[in-house]
């Protein structure tokens, strides 16, 4: 999974939402800043929640100000942090320019406020210590999670508004990337700690995926609903051992079946034109990426397989492994139909939704082709069409839609 994400990073460094190794991105950004603005150095201090301080993890330099990784920190007592976080400070901004602070110190207005003057002098001195011409704050909401340090410009030019806009964008990218990296870190931590917490995090992630794919909003929820309804009928046909566990596994697998879309670029998910070969290749990775994410949990074995194989076909023409017939896990076969049915009955970027009648016909047509016949039969029993063939003759599902 790491490899896939890294390949992705190299291709589209800007779509940071998908990156869980933020170091690579930060290095890339610092390198860009240093060369574009011709700086002596640029460095990124990142909030360390265990120590409650900011540590310079990564820096890039053109001169001789090489900061070893994890060697410098900025504590909360440091005037730079205070400037960004102190609510009392009158003109709080998300950036500090050394020149502006120097001007401010000389202004008459400040001279009348000795406390503020002392603070600004302290701030200026600190900037000089870090050889910083400017610092840019990286906020996520109200939290300061990173500080970008910018050294002297070698051409001695000033940093102008255009540069600042450019820097702010990059700083936001870094913040998003860090936030995501932390989410993944938490994820790994929770795996060891607590399955439920893990699930919540995965779901939070999943819903962020759903949020970015505007055509599938509510999709997951409906797939869960359909899957469980199918299972309840299916258990009358065949003996399912430990049905309670089966149903719980089904619920979780259905919830998480598309989690691997985290590795699929937004531009592909929301593409209006038909997908090209490369796009399809990307999308086809999502079951495996999903399985990789979930694999770390010990008792998720069946769920991992369900997620991995929910795009297999009964006739063996599916992916990723081309499994056939009974080789496909039952959980995956159920999700496959629920997933396909919901996809057909909702608008997609490239086509309008099918009517219920058409969708049911399509499912029937694919009995023994795409879908397991047993599961198709269960589906048809679970969702009988009414006489008009315009709605389902059922009450147990509640209303459709998100």
């Amino acid at each position: 999974m790491r490899k896939i994400l890294r390949e992705y990073l190299e291709k589209t460094a800007k779509q940071t939402i998908l990156i869980h190794r933020s170091d690579t991105l930060i290095k890339l950004i610092l390198r860009t800043i240093v060369s574009k603005l011709n700086l002596e150095y640029a460095a990124m201090a990142i909030y360390d929640k265990n120590k409650d301080e900011y540590v310079i993890k990564i820096s890039r330099t053109k001169g001789n100000f090489k900061i070893p990784p994890n060697f410098l920190k900025i504590t909360k007592e440091n005037p730079i942090v205070k400037y960004f976080t102190n609510k009392d400070f009158p003109s709080r901004k998300d950036h500090i320019f050394l020149d502006k602070i120097s001007l401010l110190i000389k202004s008459k207005k400040i001279k009348r406020n000795p406390k503020l003057l002392r603070f600004l002098e302290d701030l200026k001195f600190t900037l000089l210590l870090y050889r910083a011409r400017a610092c840019i704050a990286g906020f996520f909401g109200k939290d300061l999670i990173g500080i970008l340090f910018l050294g002297e410009r070698k051409d001695k030019k000033k940093i102008n508004d255009d540069d600042l806009a450019f820097l702010s964008v990059l700083s936001t990218d870094i913040v998003m990337s860090l936030k995501n990296a932390w989410l993944f870190e938490d994820l790994n931590y929770q795996i060891q700690k607590n399955k439920d917490l893990f699930l919540q995090t995965v779901l939070a992630l999943a819903s962020s995926i759903e949020a970015k794919d505007r055509y599938t909003r509510g999709h997951t929820e409906r797939v869960v609903k359909y899957s469980l309804a199918i299972a309840d009928v299916l258990k009358k046909y065949i003996k399912i051992q430990n049905y309670d566990k089966f149903k719980e596994d089904l619920r979780i697998s259905a919830l998480l079946h598309d989690i691997g879309k985290i590795g699929v670029p937004e531009r592909i998910l929301n593409k209006k034109k038909p997908l090209n070969v490369k796009d399809i290749e990307y999308i086809r990775k999502h079951p495996v990426i999903g399985a990789d994410i979930l694999e770390k949990i010990k008792d998720f074995k069946d769920i991992v397989l369900a997620v991995k194989h929910h795009h297999e076909r009964y006739d063996g023409k599916g992916y990723p492994d081309g499994l056939k017939n009974k080789k496909i896990p039952l959980l995956a076969s159920i999700i496959a139909i629920a997933d396909a049915f919901d996809a057909m009955t909702t608008d997609r970027p490239y086509r309008k939704a099918f009517s219920l009648k058409e969708a049911v016909k399509e499912i029937k047509r694919n009995r023994k082709r795409q879908f397991s016949p047993l599961v198709v039969d269960s589906f048809l029993k679970a969702f009988p069409l009414d006489k008009n063939e315009e709605s389902f003759n059922i009450t147990h599902l509640g209303s459709r839609g998100s």
Binding site: V55, K66, I67, N70, F71, L72, K73, N78, L129
Partner: protein
């Protein structure tokens, strides 16, 4: 204008030494670099530095025993131990033996400069 003050830095991480050197030289301090205990003692004898920054973990010996040797040569030597925050036991031991103070890595330069300002005019 030379300050004439000399600082000996002992650390096995060259990047750390170089950073200290480039940082302190801006304050007109002369920096002497040592990568291990051997060099540390040799350069201490040779240069009689005003301050010593001594990493508590060195490749050939532990920093505390080097501190002992330095204080034997010059009981009034001002030695700052460089430690990680977690190395509490070593910090305590160094203080008992006679370390002047210690500096925890990672370093906040604002705090660092305040600490050494007391011993060196900047």
């Amino acid at each position: 204008m030379r300050n004439n003050k000399k600082i000996l830095i002992v650390d096995d991480d060259i990047a750390v030494i170089d950073f200290f050197a480039s940082f302190l030289e801006r304050f007109n301090l002369e920096v002497i670099k040592a990568k291990n205990a051997d060099e540390a003692l040799k350069f201490f004898n040779l240069n009689k530095p005003d301050l010593v920054f001594l990493d508590i973990q060195l490749p050939d010996r532990d920093g505390v025993s080097v501190l002992k040797d330095i204080l034997e040569i010059s009981p009034k030597a001002k030695v700052f131990m460089l430690t990680a925050k977690s190395e509490k036991i070593l910090q305590k031991k160094a203080k008992e033996i006679g370390a002047f103070d210690y500096i925890t890595k990672p370093i906040d330069l604002a705090i660092f400069i305040k600490k050494i300002k007391r011993y060196i005019e900047i």
